[in-house]
Subunit: 258 residues, 2 copies
């Protein structure tokens, strides 16, 4: 029987709210067994960019990562957020070790090819190094991943944290029984964003597509769900979207992907 | 017989000069056997602070680390410098893994007590976790340390990189035969800063004190030498101060502490 592994993704909104982050990390610390935390970036990078006089470049609503913006992302995600989270987990007795994809070559990516849009220094994941994650976990360490990867040719690349969580979950599922948990500010996928208790308790990909067509599920949630279903289709048995309550309380409301 | 371990400290001046850094990392990549890199911060943090409208606080020529300045140091040292160096070493075939002291609880420190001066969020090293460094090295990984530590109570702390290198060298010398190499922009300790070839080839602590009294050795070099002699007195057999040439060429000019 394979050992259990929790892969928990913490959204950027929570990372930037000290009180909410403390709750999430305390819940994460209470999870038994092997675990990996993946964290988003959130507002801090945008605010840092503004303070430095940089103007975020957007094309068709998508952020473009130019070299100056990549430096900001690396400083914010791999620097401040990653080390604050790691130090906080150490305080809570979790032997956390913060990583970008370059560290131990744990997540390799390819710069996204230029098509209609040139996203700039954005990486699409090409390889998850299960061996280095397994080694660290075997040594009792808890990997804490930020949303920065590298191409093994010396270039750091900005990579979506939801996608990192899904790809890590899929790759590690060969060795462990993985539970992928997307932790964000809501109790799950909502029927109506103005009613935070109206949680869709389970969701298939067909149902998701209907809800997208009917505009029940909106923009921000769509890529997260695609990542979740990608994990599910690739063997990850448990994929859950919810808030901190569902991380520790078995009967808390949540959305389970089926 | 104990295995050899190189502990190489790279000065901040070199970290901030892309061409010089590339030379240093190429030399470091060519070193056989177990190795640890420690890097300073340099100008980037100061420039970042200025860009963010922060005024570096100095008391009696010593920098004071307030919370805003600590965030800048974490972003610059643990974020941008550490990840750029790690990605560059990965390109060179070195399986580098970047670390702050919080990661894997590898370097714990205590906030410096307030005496005449309150240095702010500055940490004096209290414990080097030789077990985590040994585990990483055993897995074929090369630790890359920045000048940030933590107190295990959730607080990150700014810590001198020369001191980190010396304390890591001393602690690891129990397990390995350590060679501590301070790599900076000069060929060694100089008799005369205006004559870069006039290198003091070997130096005892008594000679150092004479040279300090005679003002041959100046401000910036003094703490580095104290750290070097601390390592020497605590069992590290080889302590060298030089530039990149001496890292790879056996007969290159250098200062050897005796």
């Amino acid at each position: 029987m394979k050992q259990n592994l929790h892969v928990v993704k913490v959204g950027g909104h929570l990372v930037n709210d000290p009180e909410a982050l403390d709750q999430v990390l305390t819940a994460f610390a209470s999870l038994d067994g092997a675990k990996i935390l993946v964290h988003g970036g959130g507002r801090h990078a945008t605010e840092l960019a503004k303070s430095l006089g940089l103007t975020p470049k957007m094309i068709e609503g998508r952020r473009i990562t130019d070299p100056a913006m990549l430096d900001v992302a690396v400083m914010s995600y791999a620097g401040l957020s990653n080390k604050k989270i790691t130090a906080a987990l150490q305080r809570l007795g979790v032997n956390a070790l913060g990583l970008s994809g370059a560290d131990g070559n744990c997540i390799q990516s390819l710069k996204r090819p230029v098509s209609d849009i040139d996203y700039g220094l954005v990486g699409d994941i090409s390889h998850i190094n299960t061996s280095v994650f397994s080694s660290l976990i075997r040594e009792g360490l808890v990997p804490v991943l930020c949303a920065i990867t590298h191409d093994k040719k010396g270039q750091l690349l900005n990579t979506n944290a939801d996608t990192i969580a899904a790809k890590v979950a899929i790759a590690m599922n060969v060795i462990f029984d993985v539970r992928l948990f997307y932790c964000f500010e809501h109790a799950g996928v909502l029927h109506d964003i103005s009613n935070p208790t109206d949680v869709i308790s389970s969701l298939t990909e067909i149902q998701m597509n209907d809800l997208i067509d009917n505009q029940v599920i909106h923009q921000g949630m769509v890529p997260k769900l695609h990542n979740g279903f990608d994990a599910l289709k690739n063997g990850v048995a448990d994929v859950i979207i919810s808030n901190v309550d569902a991380m520790i309380t078995i009967n808390a409301p949540k959305t389970v992907l089926k």
